[in-house]
Amino acid sequence: MPTEAKRKVYFDNMANTPPDHRVIETMLLQTKEAFGNPLNIHDFGEKTAEVIESSRKNVAELIGATPAEIIFTSCGSESNNFAIRGIAKAYEKKGKHIISSAIEHFSVLQVLKALEKEGFKVTYLPVDKNGVINSQAVAKAITPETILVTLTHASNEIGTIEPIAEIGKIVKDKGIIFHVDAVQTAGTIPLNVAEFQVDALTLSANLFYGPTGIAALYLKKGTRIVPFLVGGTQEEGKRAGTQNIPGISGMGKAAELAKQEMNARSEKLIPLRDRLLKGLTEKIDDFFITGHPTNRLPGHASGVVKYIEGESMSMLLNMEGIAVSTGSACVSKALKASHVVLALGVSPEDAHGSLVFSMGKDASVEDVDYVLAKLPPIVKRLREMSPLYPKKKGAK
C-alpha cells in the first residue's frame, strides 16, 4: 500500500544511498563493453581488466591507499567477515585476544561471536553517553595476547565519529593489527589509511552513491589474511569468484565523485543536520539526541522520541512520504531494541523509540522543514495511544 503523499523525502541514506546518475551511466557503459574474463588471454579480458584496475585506483585514492591494497568484495558485511576472520586466523599463533566495541555492526559482532566459540577471547569496549570509544580504554584493554583491534569509524545508528587516528597510534605502537569498519565514513568524510595507521579497512560503495553489491577491503601491504572465499586466483588470490563488473565500475566512478565532491557535500549537509536536530529538540517534548551532538556524520540526525515505538512512527512518516530508519537498518526485522542505542545507557523502552534521519547529498531545507512539520502530529497521535505516556502530561 504505497503512500500517495506528494512530497517524497528519503532520509534513509545511512541504509543505502541512491546511486548518482553519473555512476549509473558508467555502469551501463562498462557492463556493455567489459564482459570478457580478465584472467583470460584476449582483448575482451584486457578490456575488463582495465575497467577493474582503473576502478581499483579510484577506490585506493579515495582512502590514500595503493591499488594493490584494495580487494573488491560483495558488501560491507563480507569485508567485515573476511577481515576479522581472516586476520584472526592468520595471526592466531601470536595470540587469541581481540578488542572491539559495544556499538559494532552485526556483521562484526556475529563474526566475533563465532570466533569466541572457536576459542578466541573478545573484549567489547563500552562507549560514553555520546557514543564515543575512549582511546585510553583501548590502550588498557591490550594484553600480550591481543592480535587484532576492530572498531567502527561511525555507527550507522548514532553517527558519532570515533577517534580512529588516536586509537591507530596506540594500536600501532603495540604492533597489533587494526581493522576499521568505515562503511559509514569512507566516501563521506576525509579518511586516510596512512594517517589513521590502520591495517585493514572496510568500505562500501552503496554508502557514497555507488551501487549495492560491491564493497572493498583495504589491506595494508604485508598484512597477512586467510582468504574467506576460496577458488580461482582473482583479486591476487585473496578473493575468488568472477568479478562484479557493473559493481566495480560503479564503485570506481562513485569513489572518484566522492573525492571531488566530499567537501561540498558536507558543507551543505552539516547545516541541514543541525537544523533538523535543533528543530526536533524544540518541537518535540521528551525527545533527546542519540550520538554526539556535533562530532557526527554530516547528514546524520538521530534521537529518541520517548513513550512511543519506532515502527509505528516510521509507518506514519511513510504515509507522509518520509523514509527514515528505526534502530539498525540491517536488522529491523529482528524487532529488538538497538544494541547501539542501549550501549549509550538509554533504557530499553526508550531505545524502541529511536529514529535515524540520514540525509543524502540532494537533501534540501524544504525537506528538513517538511519533516519538522509532519513529525510532531504523528508523535502526538501515537502518544495518545500509548499507555506509557504520563497521564499528567495529557495528550500534547
Partner: protein, 142 residues
C-alpha cells in the same frame, strides 16, 4: 515490511477502534513489557456478564496496534464466557493475516483481553480465570 501489512491491518493501525482511556473500568488488563517493545492495556466495562464497553492503549508496532484494535471489536457485546474463547488465531484471522514475525502481536492481543477479564473476575468473584496465565515472552520470537 509495510507491504506485508494487508489493508485491514493498515486500516486498524491508521484508524484504531476503541482507543483511549476509560473512566472506572470494571477490569483492567496489562500485558507485555517495555524491553520487548510492546505494551498493551485493555479496559472493560461489564454489565450482566456482557462486555458492554472496551478500550485499549498500546505502545508498540503497527501490528500490535491493529491487534489491540481488532480485539476490542471482537469482544464488544460478548459474554465473559464467549470472550474467553477468543484465541490469537481468531485475532490473526479477523485481521486477514499478519506477517509471520508479527504473529506474537496477536498473542499479546489475546492476553491483554484475558488479563482484563482476569482482573474483572478477581474483583467480582475473588478468583481469576482458572489456570490462565499469559504466554511467555520467549514464545513471541523477539
Amino acid at each position: 515490511m509495510v507491504e506485508q501489512y494487508n489493508p485491514t491491518v493498515m486500516d486498524h493501525f491508521m484508524h484504531p477502534r476503541n482507543m483511549g482511556d476509560m473512566e472506572n473500568p470494571d477490569g483492567v488488563g496489562h500485558i507485555g513489557n517495555p524491553q520487548c517493545g510492546d505494551i498493551m492495556e485493555m479496559y472493560i466495562k461489564v454489565k450482566d456478564n456482557v462486555i458492554i464497553d472496551v478500550k485499549f492503549k498500546t505502545f508498540g508496532c503497527g501490528a500490535a496496534i491493529a491487534s489491540s484494535s481488532i480485539v476490542t471489536e471482537l469482544v464488544k457485546g460478548k459474554t465473559i464466557e464467549e470472550a474467553l474463547k477468543i484465541t490469537n488465531q481468531q485475532v490473526v484471522d479477523a485481521l486477514g493475516g499478519l506477517p509471520p514475525i508479527k504473529r506474537h502481536c496477536s498473542v499479546l492481543g489475546e492476553d491483554a483481553l484475558k488479563s482484563a477479564i482476569d482482573d474483572y473476575l478477581k474483583k467480582t468473584t475473588g478468583k481469576g480465570i482458572e489456570g490462565w496465565q499469559p504466554h511467555e515472552e520467549e514464545e513471541h520470537a523477539h
